[in-house]
């Protein structure tokens, strides 16, 4: 089925599997989700990324049917499902706390979806065997959830959600409870299951690196609204707002920023620390702009890129493969961070010394300011 490269575009671009239009959720007078549109393509791994409290869970619960939306429509595969009862919706959920049934064995848990549909014993057993095989739990079918490790519970929850062969699975921070090493392992595992099964994954996390490594596309949420949707590369290299830029790696933000010229797809901007060239056209609504430059975009001296700033070294920290230099602008006391591959031959600059730091017009982005 759908098999594609990480970062590439999912197939069937013109026919979204899930179509959300003007969906809003209010709790009393509080807008947990401001009316928003979202398309999820068939077979893609789409991650909803945002800080805690930004409405990720609420959005997912509205899609699953646990939360009645205040307004708006949800279509799945061309059918309106906004009013459809939870148990009829053609997709399944992996819960953050796994929600495994404590009085049932792993097998009974996994087979539950088939059992309530009255699937015959033979067919049921075959399907459960194959699901347990996919998640590598063939040996543990007779155990109770309380006898499983966190990762095994996680796999059980996934097998249970996959048993009815849904076209889409919703996952709400499924890895949040696992420790770092297991988390990384489960990320790879989830991704490979998703790729092999071709099931659309709608995944929620607050972890930027998790979203980046797993997703085909990421939808960044902030205060109940969608801030930006795009591939991990899009969001990393072409953030539209200061919020997205700083969420994806610590960006250097230079503001305020004023456009003085646009020519040949290069925009010139004036900032308190100098005038710079930025590749690409100016963004619309050009007020409240800021310039975001990644720490690794900065280079010293050689190559002479178009944009240059003179900065004073504050400190240098060696963290193995990389060296991070903290810098300060003399007049504005704006702070900068530069990250570079560690060079065994280099002599680190002394604090207080002045460096000329350059960056390429293609390696920075004009972003909207605070009220994104």
């Amino acid at each position: 089925m759908a098999n594609h490269e990480t970062g590439g575009l999912a197939p069937n671009q013109d026919l979204p599997l899930l179509r959300i239009r003007g969906l809003g959720v209010r709790f009393g007078t509080f807008n947990a989700i401001n009316p928003l549109d979202l398309d999820v393509r068939d077979g893609e791994f789409l991650t909803i990324l945002g800080p805690s409290g930004s409405g990720k869970t609420t959005l997912l619960r509205a899609i699953a049917g646990f939360q009645t939306p205040s307004e708006g429509g949800i279509e799945f595969d061309g059918r309106d499902i906004a009013e459809m009862p939870i148990n009829r919706r053609p997709f399944n959920t992996v819960f953050q706390d796994y929600a495994l049934f404590p009085h049932m064995t792993v097998r009974e848990n996994v087979s539950f979806g088939l059992r309530v549909r009255g699937t015959g014993r033979k067919r049921l057993n075959d399907r459960v065997d194959s699901a347990l095989g996919i998640v590598g739990l063939e040996e543990l079918g007779a155990r109770y959830p309380s006898q499983l490790s966190g990762g095994q519970q996680q796999r059980t929850a996934l097998a249970r959600a996959m048993i009815c062969e849904p076209r889409m699975i919703l996952l709400d921070e499924p890895l949040a409870a696992l420790d770092a090493a297991l988390r990384r392992q489960m990320q790879n595992f989830l991704k490979s299951v998703q790729r092999q099964s071709g099931i659309t994954f709608l995944f929620v996390t607050h972890d930027q690196s998790e979203a980046t490594t797993m997703s085909d596309r990421i939808c960044v949420m902030r205060s109940g609204s969608i801030e930006q949707i795009g591939t991990p590369r899009d969001l990393y290299y072409r953030p539209k707002s200061k919020f997205v830029a700083s969420f994806f790696g610590a960006s250097n933000i230079i503001e305020p920023c004023e456009i003085i010229d646009v020519r040949n797809d290069v925009t010139s901007v004036r900032t308190p620390v100098g005038t710079f060239a930025v590749a690409g056209p100016a963004p619309e609504g050009g007020s409240g702009l800021a310039l975001a430059v990644r720490p690794e975009a900065f280079g010293i001296g050689n190559g002479k890129p178009a944009n240059q700033i003179e900065l004073t070294v504050v400190s240098v920290s060696f963290i193995g493969s990389e060296t991070i230099t903290e810098l300060k602008h003399r007049n504005t006391s704006l702070e900068f961070k530069m990250k570079a591959r560690s060079d065994p031959a280099a002599i680190p600059p002394a604090p207080g010394s002045v460096l000329t730091v350059g960056f390429d017009p293609a390696e920075c982005a004009l972003v909207s300011g605070d009220t994104g």
Partner: protein, 271 residues
């Protein structure tokens, strides 16, 4: 070291005395159900089951015991059904107005003095023309034990993670299937607890029953009536039987608790 041992010894003797005070009367009753007594001394050569035989031929006591059991079981079944439905509703919509109403309605008879509950029911039954009998006692007991059953079930329901119900529905279960496959299995222990507790409450409930009993009363009412004419020794046999029954019940309960405990404990710590 020495002071500590002294403390231990005195503690042990105090507990021994307390247990003696608690269990000596019961032991005496037990002994007296098999032996006769003369001039304040047990005659050990008189061992017999005579009092038990007399108890079972004493129709009024036997009938009263049977009534107590019928009333207890019927009232518990009725109350459990109502309490479960009410608890399910309150658990699903805890802040709705109907939920708050239900809580008051269920708890009022439990908090009211039994004399008031009994009297109100008596007046009510008279007004609607229902004559006193087992049925009226059953209603009285059901109302009385409703609150405790309801509370135990609701506590368990509230401790069940909400996402369990959501997960079941998400996997395609109807409301009925969710109840049958997810909720009910997790209510087994609380239902057993509530049933036993409620039966104990019903078994010695006297005040409400006094108002609602017609000619056929429950055991406590019957014993109450016997007090005026004085007890015959078969009362010892009766108490011994009830004691034995309670002990068996406690043991069964403890076993059931331990057997489901393995899973139960983990469940509580996990959720």
């Amino acid at each position: 070291m020495k002071r500590l041992r002294l403390l231990d010894v005195s503690l042990a003797s105090v507990s021994f005395l307390v247990y003696l005070a608690l269990y000596l009367p019961i032991l005496l009753v037990f002994v007296l159900s098999f032996f006769s007594m003369r001039r304040g001394r047990v005659r050990w050569d008189t061992f017999s089951f005579e009092w038990y035989a007399r108890l079972f031929s004493n129709e009024s006591l036997g009938e009263a015991l049977l009534n107590s059991i019928i009333v207890g079981i019927t009232a518990i079944i009725a109350a459990t059904v109502i309490a479960t439905l009410a608890a399910l509703h309150v658990n699903a919509r805890p802040s709705s107005r109907s939920a708050r109403m239900l809580e008051y309605v269920i708890f009022l008879p439990f908090l009211l003095p039994p004399i008031i509950t009994g009297l109100s029911l008596l007046i009510y039954f008279r007004e609607i023309g229902v004559s006193r009998g087992l049925a009226t006692i059953i209603v009285g007991h059901a109302v009385f034990v409703l609150a405790i059953i309801y509370r135990i079930i609701l506590t368990r329901l509230n401790s069940l993670s909400r996402s369990l119900v959501e997960a079941a529905q998400d996997l395609g279960a109807s409301r009925l299937q969710t109840f049958r496959f997810i909720i009910l299995p997790n209510l087994r222990m609380p239902l057993l607890t509530a049933g036993i507790l409620a039966f104990a409450l019903s078994f010695d409930e006297t005040m409400i029953t006094l108002f609602l009993a017609g000619t056929d009363g429950t055991l406590p009412v019957r014993l109450y009536a016997m007090m005026r004419v004085g007890f015959t020794p078969e009362i010892n046999a009766l108490i011994t039987l009830i004691l034995g029954f309670s002990i068996v019940l406690t043991v069964v309960f403890a076993f059931a608790w331990r057997r489901s405990g393995g899973i139960d404990n983990n469940r509580i710590t996990r959720i």
